[in-house]
């Protein structure tokens, strides 16, 4: 017994104790109840087309880099068929349904998703690499919640737009990213259908599986043919969809770079559009904050979903007086983060979605170090196969560092300090992005002061990375246009009488 331990109880001497190195045994989620095909066609007009080997691509499981299934890459004529099916369904069926009828289908979708939640969670983790804890507790339940929420709007739309008679837009082209595949699908499809639109949706090429499984669910629901069409493929397929002359609306979630390309390409048609793009959120931590909770907030802000989150709090701005303490607490906390098999229930950080993304993250961290940053990584061991990156913090960075300016889209946090409230606000806003920011302080009036000055669509105060179907989400500046979720989310999918304005 050391001097320091002089306060320990007498059991130490009475009972022989072996120092324990307690670690968690493997706790893999069962995959025995989950089935999927080795290859998929496209979902057009209520049924799957024949898988086309000559026009196909593979999707890998990022946890081991092996091929999981193959998809058909939708050609121009496939996309055309999907848009035609959506048009026919809009004009012949869905557009004429009453709100009550539409709501019944949406409620059933929500219910079936809840019933099959675990299956979808496992598939999401296998396909995208996210830990089962997140797909099980966040992605899939939230996706169901979005359908449930918008189901209830379908027959109440006139109350959403005082003084107006909302009408559907028609055929909506929707393109979603790989970081929250099914959740983003729900964000897009639920409000579109609630408002009476039909949909052609393209999932990201690395994560098509839950969208394709979702089609099975639609068949079980008996959703009329053509109301939802899913075309798989990469950029080319997306281009065919965006360029299609018979679409009435574009909803895109993805990088700012691609968003700008789409905006330019639809300029001549003046199509209604909504964009959810990149971000570089600041996490402003004042010295009077609840520091333990704030440290947990930082973990949620940047290490959630491997940092593949557009609204991630990727820049920690911490007030000088507590910087040392916060960094120390954060490092301690990071030692308990487990990087590993996405399907293990104890995994905190799963696999990076693709080899390309892993290389991007590695490149950024290398650049950061070259620019003078000090790097600290969590000590968890990494699996030997597959694409993994440890949670990382970079200190000694400055506002001009590329790791501070650019979106890394990985589990990498930069840490800067500030002295005054206004300095923090200025640093937080000093970016072309404006999706989300966090404020941590125990002082209520400061929250409203700082919150009102932050240029971002979401302000998380004393919390971070929270999502809810009733809560609008979307960006200022180059982080996007329009909102998804809540009442505002309906605006994106209706036209209102008398003014030709669409929002």
């Amino acid at each position: 017994m050391s001097e320091k331990n002089s306060s320990v109880l007498p059991t130490q001497s009475k009972q022989t104790t072996v120092p324990i190195d307690w670690s968690y045994a493997e706790a893999p989620e069962s995959i025995s109840h989950v089935t999927f095909n080795k290859s998929y066609g496209l979902f057009i007009n209520g049924s799957f087309t024949e898988y086309n080997e000559n026009q196909s691509f593979e999707s890998t499981n990022p946890a081991n880099g092996e091929c999981l299934y193959r998809c058909t890459e939708a050609s121009e004529s496939d996309v055309d068929a999907a848009v035609k099916a959506a048009r026919t369904a809009f004009e012949g069926v869905w557009g004429n349904y009453s709100g009550t009828q539409r709501s019944h289908y949406l409620y059933r979708i929500a219910r079936l998703l809840q019933e099959r939640a675990r299956e979808f969670a496992v598939l999401e983790s296998m396909d995208g690499g996210k830990p089962i804890r997140e797909s099980r507790d966040i992605d899939i339940p939230l996706a169901a919640a979005y359908f449930f929420y918008y189901a209830g709007w379908a027959d109440k739309l006139s109350y959403a737009f005082p003084g107006k008679t909302p009408k559907p837009l028609g055929v909506c082209a929707q393109i979603i990213p790989w970081n929250f595949p099914l959740l983003m699908l729900a964000w897009k499809i639920a409000p579109a259908l609630a408002c009476g639109n039909t949909v052609v949706l393209k999932p990201a090429e690395t994560t098509s599986l839950t969208a394709l499984k979702f089609c099975e669910l639609l068949q079980d629901v008996g959703l009329p043919d053509g109301v939802v069409n899913i075309v798989t493929g990469a950029a080319k397929t997306g281009e065919y969809l965006v360029q299609h002359p018979d679409i009435d609306k574009i909803a895109f979630t993805g990088s700012t770079e691609v968003g700008k390309v789409i905006q330019r390409s639809i300029a001549e048609r003046q199509l209604p559009s909504t964009f959810e793009l990149g971000g570089k959120g600041a996490f402003i931590l004042f010295d009077d904050a609840a520091l333990n909770e704030a440290v947990e907030g930082i973990v949620n802000a940047i290490f959630f979903n491997q940092g593949h989150v557009c609204c991630a709090g990727s820049r920690l701005l911490v007030q000088e007086g507590v910087a040392e303490k916060v960094i120390d607490l954060l490092k301690k906390r990071m030692q308990h983060l487990i990087v590993g098999d996405p399907l293990d229930k104890n995994t905190d950080i799963g696999a990076i979605n693709s080899k390309e993304q892993l290389e991007t993250i590695q490149r950024y961290v290398k650049t950061g170090i070259q620019e003078g940053a000090t790097c600290f990584e969590c000590s968890s061991s990494l699996p030997t196969s597959g694409y993994y990156f440890p949670p990382t913090i970079l200190t000694g960075v400055s506002q001009s560092s590329s790791v501070v300016q650019e979106e890394i889209f990985g589990p990498v946090l930069t840490i800067q300090t500030f002295r005054t409230t206004d300095e923090a606000i200025e640093k937080a806003n000093n970016t072309p992005y404006g999706l989300a920011n966090g404020i941590w302080t125990d002082k209520g009036s400061k929250i409203f002061y700082v919150g009102s000055k932050l240029k971002s669509g979401v302000v998380w105060s004393n919390t971070y990375n929270k999502f809810d179907p009733t809560s609008p989400f979307g960006g200022y500046k180059e982080s996007g246009k329009g909102r998804e979720g809540g009442l505002s989310g309906l605006h994106a999918y209706v036209k209102l009488d008398n003014n030709g304005g669409v929002y």
Partner: protein, 314 residues
């Protein structure tokens, strides 16, 4: 204005008891000449010279945007009540100078009736929007019942700096239909005035200058759309472009394409009435136009929704 230097070319309209005015830009609460030194002649329908108006350049756009950026927070941070009062004050001042605007409109080719109806409509529209400043969040904001222990609310905030491309006619109402929702929103703006009928908009600057509107909140420049739309739509510090649906397709597409550079919000709505229509059926066209412009959803176009979360605990 009366004791201002008048070194513009002598106008034929000069008479003993009426001194013609030099029409200048309005930037940061001041009336500078265009940096370019160029001008164009505004003529009546019969070809008679009325006034020389500045042919502004991209540097004027730059200066105006700079002024707007500087002023934006000042305008936005005023209380909603205060912004409403200032906007109401604009209506009061405009009302007092009613005759001046009617005369200018008639010079440009308006019938007496059309001119009177339009200025009445302008006053009505300003009062209408002045009343929205402290109501927009009450009608369109929300407290969102999230499924966790958090208080969550969404409110509307200004987007920032707006480029406003005025329709040619109605000469004042068309511009106001685009401007007023932006003022309610808390934005600051750079207005490109009507090319053919700029005088009422230029004179409106004098109303603004005497109405407690903070300098730089509204900036007005005159000139050619072909010279002014490119720099304003390409400007990286402009957040929104608004215009009227009558704008030439070429310019409208330019706005849409260039908006991608910094993801500007681009909105076009209807405020156009041709001079012929104004003169032939002033009552009907103006009341239809006012009805269409009295739409609070235009305010929502030029605002951002900000959603704030906070935990609820002991």
């Amino acid at each position: 204005m009366a004791n201002e230097q008048t070194n513009h070319p002598t106008s034929q309209a000069t008479t003993m008891n009426s001194i013609p005015k030099t029409y200048k830009n309005y930037i940061n609460g001041e009336f500078p000449r265009t940096e370019s030194g160029r001008y164009y002649s505004v003529e009546a329908l019969d070809g008679k010279h009325i006034a020389n108006v500045g042919l502004s350049s991209k540097k004027d756009v730059r200066n105006a945007v700079q002024a707007a950026r500087k002023a934006q927070a000042t305008w936005a941070q005023k209380t909603a009540y205060n912004r409403g009062q200032i906007m109401y004050r604009i209506a009061e001042i405009l009302s007092g100078r009613r005759e001046q605007f009617i005369n200018e409109m008639i010079l440009l080719g308006y019938s007496q009736e059309a001119a009177e109806l339009e200025i009445n409509a302008c006053i009505e529209l300003i009062v209408y929007f002045a009343g929205w400043t402290d109501k927009i969040d009450q009608v369109f904001g929300s407290v969102n019942p999230v499924a966790s222990d958090h208080f969550n609310f969404s409110r509307h905030e200004p987007v920032g700096v707006v480029g406003i491309i005025s329709p040619e006619t109605p000469s004042l109402l068309g511009m106001l239909g685009l401007l007023l929702p932006n003022m309610v929103a808390g934005n600051s703006q750079v207005i490109i005035a009507s090319k053919q009928f700029p005088l009422p908009t230029c004179t409106f600057a004098e109303v603004l200058a005497t109405s407690d509107v903070p300098a730089g909140t509204v900036n007005i420049i005159t000139g050619l759309k072909s010279e002014l739309i490119p720099p304003i739509s390409q400007h990286m510090d402009v957040d929104v472009l608004v215009g009227d649906v009558s704008l030439d397709t070429e310019f409208r597409v330019l706005c849409e394409v260039e908006s991608a550079s910094n993801m500007k919000r681009v909105y076009f709505w209807e405020s156009f009435i041709s001079l012929d229509e104004l003169n032939s059926s002033p009552n009907e066209t103006i009341s239809t136009c006012v009805h269409s412009l009295k739409d609070p959803y235009h305010i929502l176009h030029v605002q951002e929704v900000k959603t704030t979360w906070h935990p609820i605990s002991e």
